[in-house]
């Protein structure tokens, strides 16, 4: 009888071990020399495969806006009047009034309607950044004295926005964070008690905060948490050589890819098909590496004066500065690329953000005109 029980237990243990083995993805070792440089054909029509929309609207007079996000056809944005209030010239002294409180607004690009979602009730301008929206919640970061708080506004209720996460709650040494919002979860890089960088998750429903990745590396304290097609990607220095890129399912945190690279890795983004990352070398032309999980295609693309990049299905959207200034689309399957000719030369394209639905958006700044009070955004989606 006992033998029979022991046999069952051993059998169960073997199943558990086998299951865990299967759960943890295979480590793929990648060497820099294995990556090929393919010849790309220039095709300006490549952008016709995508839906490209320029959203432009006026923001409140005397306000400044540098923080916005796009969710479907709506632009959620933060405006403050601190620059205007600081402008205390002899002829134009400004006293603070309630209407100069910081605002959270939404612009509907379909209807053209622009409205306030929330306005602070303070006696000074509150400094705010990093607004994100998932269709149900709008979150943003505010700075009050030496602390940062994440406020959350539920769109259906439009109640008083609650502070859901704060640096005062035993956070690490980061004085500012860069939150990302997917479904009901907020993600951000922070510091562990030992000072190392970790990835944290806060569930808006349960109010629970967890450290979901213990050890990460960042190229910048402002690095965005890369989430695309439900895959969250982090990276860390390998104890022996190079860097490891780890991709997890955002729902379960099941590991789906583990890439071990022999060289420097910076800002990796993965979807379910591929992972792209840069080398992070500020002195040389930037190299973007691409690895396709299924056929193990390894590719390297050289970009002069890279500003930012994003992954949109099979397309890589690259914002380049310098002589090659402009927004480029690389078709990583058909090996074609094209510059977006929609915009004139007197514009600056800024950081390529990725929305919670995977779209790409970036701010366009007109060089020769005073930017405010206007917000001009390029929104790119798959057709």
């Amino acid at each position: 009888m006992k033998k029979w029980i022991y046999s069952i237990l051993i059998f169960l243990c073997l199943i558990v071990v086998a299951f865990q083995w299967k759960e943890k993805s295979k480590e793929v070792v990648l060497e820099k020399e294995e990556f090929c440089k393919y010849s790309y054909t220039y095709n300006p029509d490549i952008w016709s495969n995508l839906r490209v929309n320029v959203i432009e609207f006026e923001t409140p007079i005397n306000s400044s806006c540098g923080n916005f996000c796009v969710y479907q056809d709506k632009v959620y944005y933060l405006v403050d009047f601190s620059d205007y209030m600081t402008n205390k010239t002899e002829t134009d002294a400004k006293e603070f009034a309630p209407e100069y409180n910081t605002q959270v607004r939404v612009y509907d690009s379909e209807s053209g309607e622009d409205k306030i979602l929330y306005q602070y009730h303070e006696e000074r301008c509150i400094n705010v950044t990093d607004i994100r929206c998932n269709g149900r919640y709008v979150i943003w970061e505010e700075y009050v004295e030496n602390t940062w708080n994440i406020r959350c506004l539920e769109l259906e209720i439009l109640n008083n926005p609650k502070v859901i996460v704060s640096s005062e709650e035993g956070s690490g040494g980061f004085w500012s964070i860069t939150p990302n919002l997917i479904e009901d979860n907020l993600y951000w890089y922070d510091q562990n008690r030992n000072g190392s960088t970790c990835l944290k998750q806060y569930n808006i429903q349960s109010g629970k905060t967890d450290v979901v990745v213990e050890e990460c590396d960042l190229a910048s304290p402002y690095e965005h948490v890369a989430i695309d097609e439900g895959i969250i990607t982090t990276y860390r220095a390998n104890k022996i050589k190079g860097y490891d890129i780890v991709s997890n399912e955002v729902d379960t945190f099941k590991q789906v890819q583990y890439l071990s690279c022999d060289s420097t890795v910076c800002k990796p983004i993965s979807d379910r098909t591929r992972c792209i990352w840069s080398e992070g070398n500020e002195l040389q032309p930037e190299k973007i590496y691409s690895y396709v999980f299924e056929n193990e295609e390894k590719e390297v693309i050289e970009i002069e004066d890279l500003f930012s990049y994003a992954l949109l299905d099979q397309y890589m959207i690259v914002n380049s500065y310098g002589e090659q200034e402009g927004l480029y689309c690389y078709d990583l399957i058909n090996k074609q690329y094209g510059k977006l000719e929609l915009l004139d030369n007197n514009t600056i394209m800024l950081f390529t953000f990725q929305s919670s639905t995977g779209d790409i958006y970036c701010e366009i700044v007109d060089k020769d005109t005073i930017q405010q009070p206007k917000l001009k955004i390029l929104h790119v989606t798959i057709k």
């Binding site: 004085w175 500012s176 965005h224 500065y321």
Partner: protein, 252 residues
Amino acid sequence: MYKKIIGIVLIMCIMGNASVVNAAEYTLTEKEEIYKEYQNDEQFCMMLQEYGEEYAEEFIEDVLNSRYRKMMRGGGGNECYQYVTNIKQTKTYNCGTTTALQTLYGLGSAGNVPGEDNSAKISTLDAKYNVDGQGHLIVYQLRNALNEYNKGSQRYIYEVGKNMTINTFEDNIARSLTNCKPVVLHAKTKYLTYYGGKDLNHYLSVDYINRTTDKVRIVDCNYNPEYYGVHIVTLEEAYNTINAETNRYMIY
């Protein structure tokens, strides 16, 4: 207002004040031109209010000196540098005083700021310029701090970035560094790659330029300097931080 400022200059000339030797190099018309250029400038107006007319007159002299020396400058290579010491901010809002201290290290004058260590020196500057009360250091105050604590003869001025071309910006950096003056940018960070779209008002040091590759070195006093302190960025990125929007300045 200008007549008063010019009046002060004339009185100083008559009294034979030693500091007027330089002032006498410039004509009233030249000074008037600079005054007209700055008379509606936000920082100039605030500076005039706080420090008075004599101080504003000195500022005009400094601008003229800066431009005059530009013409007299000779030599110089494609790489100019005057390295600063990277220091971590002690509060989320004192990047101005920390960058001022970084710059004073570059000038070899940080010892003139009272305080046993960097933290104490930053506190001294914070208290002197009411940074806790204001929530930030104002551009003209930063310029004042650099001129007040610098033991050398170099003088700093500020100039609004919106009216500057990229070539002038490049020239100003090179000239300032050649004169051993690290540059300060009163920047908007969303124009810098490594800020990843984060939009903050921030002071940054520029202590190196390569005019062949059009790259500059930014020394950022933000926290965790061992990772994030020093960055090589394109000249254009640095330029955009002060030129793309209004009310941003270059202090050099």
